[in-house]
């Protein structure tokens, strides 16, 4: 159980960032976002997405507009607000730091895969001598 916890913690950490990065590229509605993420090999449940979007929207990071659809009820299309853009930038910086740190560390073992094998807490670990 523990490993799954850690793994899901890792994911949760970067979800918002990923979502914001997708929306940043252009207006998107939830289903699209899910598709994008799946395409990038990051699986997400729609049920996770909606609350996240709503939270971001309530925090004024996102805004939306309704778009009528002929094949169903109207859809919400989300786009980034300026505040959201700023938020995104900060997250990006953090992400870069993290990625560098992790990469540096894991490269010492000779493998440089994208998988993060150290904790996702963001604290740097003492380097083994």
């Amino acid at each position: 159980m523990n490993i799954e916890n850690t793994q899901s913690q890792m994911r949760k950490g970067i979800l918002e960032f990923c979502i914001l990065s997708i929306i940043r590229r252009g207006e998107a509605y939830p289903s699209d976002i899910v598709e994008e993420m799946r395409g990038a090999n990051l699986q997400i449940l729609e049920g996770t997405l909606y609350p996240l979007l709503t939270r971001l929207k309530n925090a004024d990071m996102l805004t939306y507009r309704w778009v009528e659809s002929n094949s169903g009820p109207p859809r919400k299309y989300f786009s980034l607000t300026p505040k959201g853009e700023q938020f995104y930038k900060e997250l990006e910086a953090t992400w870069n730091e993290l990625a560098n740190a992790v990469n540096t560390l894991t490269s010492k073992q000779g493998s440089l895969t994208g998988s993060m094998t150290n904790g996702a807490s963001g604290e740097s670990e003492p380097q083994p001598k």
């Binding site: 899901s8 979800l15 729609e46 049920g47």
Partner: protein
């Protein structure tokens, strides 16, 4: 063929199977619950619903006529169930969508329908969660309670419910029932004072946690308090008095607590905590629980207490399984022995090996049962005998040893047995073996304390002293003295909880809170040196040294009273709590002059002669040694004192008697005089009339020398009392 209904879903009419609609509805409800605290909940739900609506529309467009169960399930899987949402955040794995749908459908197929509300359903035996036949667990599922409780009930009421169990086992069909029991008994990790037992119980039964605490603690506290209180209010001998609650109930609940502490697991994870409270383990409640936990974890003291308890528990488990592994080892030794013999080749050897094993097991279980029975006996009898404790034990050291012995020597095997039993029932795997070690160690301590206790107690009884006292009763102006027991004195009534009556079987007679009445009295008749009756008493007692024994003996109060021609002896003598019970005894010596008669009333046979032999170093006797002429007499028979000792009046020739001669009757059935040995036995000749009385006051401990009287060769009856009646001790053993 299924019923299809039309629903208005997000502004569109959608035909959907009724069962599918139920599933959908349940899912939406669960989402609602999940997002209960979420800001913007309605919006989220709405978004999700409209997404679902979209998906349905696509489905319909692709050619289905209506939405089916499978469609709904797929949609839900895609959306994500609340548990999945919270627990994972995303998917179970990071790879393929296949995994996701697989996991989704797996949790869907558990019970045949996805969101089946936990209904009662039919009674089945649970095929998955079963120890013997799954009866208890199936029943528990049906009733909606924790199988553990059910099992414990079955075990406790084993006698009554045994047949019920068998019946159910036969009748009720077995099925893999999805356990809808969401309430299990755990120990609470947060709400705990000692071990969280009461907290867990409170959560399980949905009551405040102080209620079980009170139930557990109150009898114990009352018991502890009432110990000294009893001495003040000792006339609280009401039949249903508080003693029941305090002593037996208190100690029982104490043990119940200990057992629960050991056997019931602690709710660690959030899921377990929720199960403890019986809330549905879904995301919402987990979230709430986690919040609470975070707050409670702030208290460091609790964490520390946790660790301490865990180490202790591990230790205990280790000790427990050491005990088990020890017995397992003996089993394996027996196994090896059996195997070795088997290798020897003969089937007989194999049988012997098996017998060997069985023998060990049998012995082990017998010992356990014996200890168990002894403990139960002590627990119950302890209530009756508890007042006696102070008469026996002296000082804090002995008292401590006694308690240690009781609880450790007797209680630990019992505890171990019950723990093992409960563990088996619950199905808890013990990871460490510390408990066995702890139990084994405690039991050894109990053993040692038992040995010490016996040693120290024995020391108290080491020496025996006597105090001789001539009583000035009289003058006794009669020719025939009747010795009787004074029953008109204070009667000691006491019937206690078990309805015990003080009767002849008890060596003591009557007990109140500070005195114990003993009936260790013996009456002896000797020939008097002069023409008068004399009455004296010899009081015995034991003690750790002669002086102490003598002091204790001195304190015995035994005062015969002369009334007309009857000597009335007290029914019993009293020893006080301070004096302790040290095997006090009283010998009443009555010297009868020759020619006078004496008769012991039958009630004298009700005296007992409680005697503790302590043969390792002998015992000290410090009395006069004028024991030549004492004899034990039968009660209810009149004797006359002859120069040769008391003789039954019926034995002697009446005419000669009138003339002052003591001539035995020709056809007497008396002692076999021809033998001339120092010890004879009385033999009953069948058809004898009167002397069939209950008991003869027999003496068992004294051997005194024949003093001087030559043993005649026994040539037959002669006129004067040259009959060689036995001069010395008569050891008569009567059946």
């Amino acid at each position: 063929m299924k019923k299809v209904i039309n629903i208005n879903f997000q502004g569109r009419v959608i035909p959907i199977e009724e069962t599918a609609y139920d599933i959908l509805k349940e899912y939406i409800e669960s989402l609602r619950r999940y997002f209960a605290n979420e800001e913007g909940r309605e919006e989220i739900i709405n978004d999700i619903e409209s997404r679902i609506g979209e998906l349905f529309a696509e489905r319909l467009k692709k050619g289905s006529t209506c939405i089916t169960d499978a469609d709904v399930n797929n949609v839900i899987a895609g959306m994500g169930r609340p548990e999945e949402l919270e627990a994972e955040g995303a998917e179970t794995t990071g790879t393929t969508g296949q995994q996701q749908t697989t996991s989704g459908s797996q949790s869907a197929s558990g019970g045949g329908g996805t969101y089946t509300p936990p209904g009662r359903g039919r009674l089945y035996r649970n095929a998955d969660d079963k120890i013997i036949g799954g009866v208890a667990s199936g029943l528990a599922n049906y009733l909606g309670i924790d199988p553990v409780i059910m099992r414990i009930v079955f075990v406790l009421l084993f006698g009554a419910l045994f047949w019920v169990y068998i019946l159910l086992w036969i009748i009720v069909p077995s099925q893999s029932v999805q356990s809808n029991v969401t309430k299990r008994l755990y120990r609470s990790a947060d709400d705990k004072v000692i071990g969280g037992v009461c907290g867990g119980l409170a959560a399980y039964f949905n009551i405040s946690s102080w209620v079980p605490r009170l139930i557990f603690a109150l009898p114990l506290v009352i018991g502890l308090l009432s110990g000294p209180l009893n001495w003040w209010w000792h006339d609280w001998d009401i039949f249903w008095g508080p003693k029941i609650i305090t002593s037996s109930l208190g100690s029982t609940l104490f043990f119940v607590y200990i057992i629960l502490w050991i056997a019931v697991p602690v709710a660690h994870t959030s899921a377990e905590k929720l199960e403890m409270r019986g809330e549905r383990v879904d995301v919402n409640s987990i979230r709430n629980t986690v919040k609470e936990d975070l707050e409670s974890f702030k208290s460091k003291a609790q964490n520390w207490g946790n660790e301490v308890r865990q180490t202790a528990q591990q230790f205990g488990e280790r000790a427990r399984d050491w005990g088990r592994s020890a017995s397992a080892q003996t089993k394996t030794y027996a196994d090896d022995a059996g195997a070795a013999v088997r290798r020897g080749g003969s089937g007989l050897g194999h049988a012997i090996g098996v017998l060997f094993k069985a023998f060990f097991l049998f012995i082990g279980s017998m010992i356990a049962l014996a200890l168990f029975a002894a403990f139960i006996g002590i627990l119950f009898g302890g209530y009756a005998f508890f007042p006696l404790k102070d008469f026996l034990l002296e000082g804090t050291w002995q008292n401590t040893l006694a308690w240690l012995t009781l609880f450790l020597f007797f209680g630990i095997p019992l505890l171990g047995l019950i723990t093992w039993l409960v563990r088996r029932i619950i199905g808890v795997q013990s990871r460490n073996h510390y408990l066995g070690f702890v139990f084994g160690g405690l039991w050894m301590i109990g053993l040692f304390s038992l040995i010490f206790l016996v040693g120290t107690l024995g020391k108290e009884f080491k020496t025996r002293s006597a105090v001789n006292e001539e009583l000035n009763i009289g003058p006794i102006n009669t020719n025939r003295l009747l010795v009787d027991v004074n029953n008109t004195g204070t009667e000691y009534y006491g019937s206690d909880w078990f309805g015990l009556d003080w009767d002849d079987d008890w060596p003591f007679y009557g007990i109140s809170h500070d005195t114990l009445m003993l009936t260790s009295v013996r009456v002896e008749v000797l020939k008097s040196d002069d023409n008068n009756y004399h009455v004296s008493t010899v009081k015995y007692s034991r003690g750790s040294n002669p002086q102490q024994a003598r002091n204790t003996a001195q304190k015995i109060q035994f005062n015969p009273v002369l009334k007309d021609s009857a000597l009335l002896l007290p029914r019993a003598f009293a020893i006080s709590r301070d004096d302790k019970f040290r095997n006090q005894q009283v010998r009443v010596r009555i010297e009868v002059p020759v020619g006078k008669r004496i008769m012991l009333d039958r009630s004298i046979s009700r005296y007992d002669w409680f005697d503790i032999r302590y043969n390792r170093r002998g015992f000290d006797i410090d009395v006069d040694d004028r024991w030549e002429y004492w004899h034990s007499l039968r009660t209810g028979v009149e004797y006359i004192m002859t120069p040769d000792g008391p003789k039954k009046v019926t034995d002697l020739d009446p005419q000669e008697l009138g003339r002052g001669n003591y001539v035995p009757l020709k056809d007497r059935e008396s002692t076999d005089t021809r033998r001339g040995d120092t010890a004879t036995r009385y033999r009953y000749r069948p058809g004898r009339t009167q002397e069939s009385d209950d008991s003869v006051i027999s003496n068992t401990s004294y051997n005194s020398e024949a003093a001087g009287e030559p043993e005649s060769s026994g040539s037959g009856a002669s006129d004067y009392a040259e009959v060689s009646s036995p001069m010395t001790t008569l050891l008569r053993l009567f059946q």
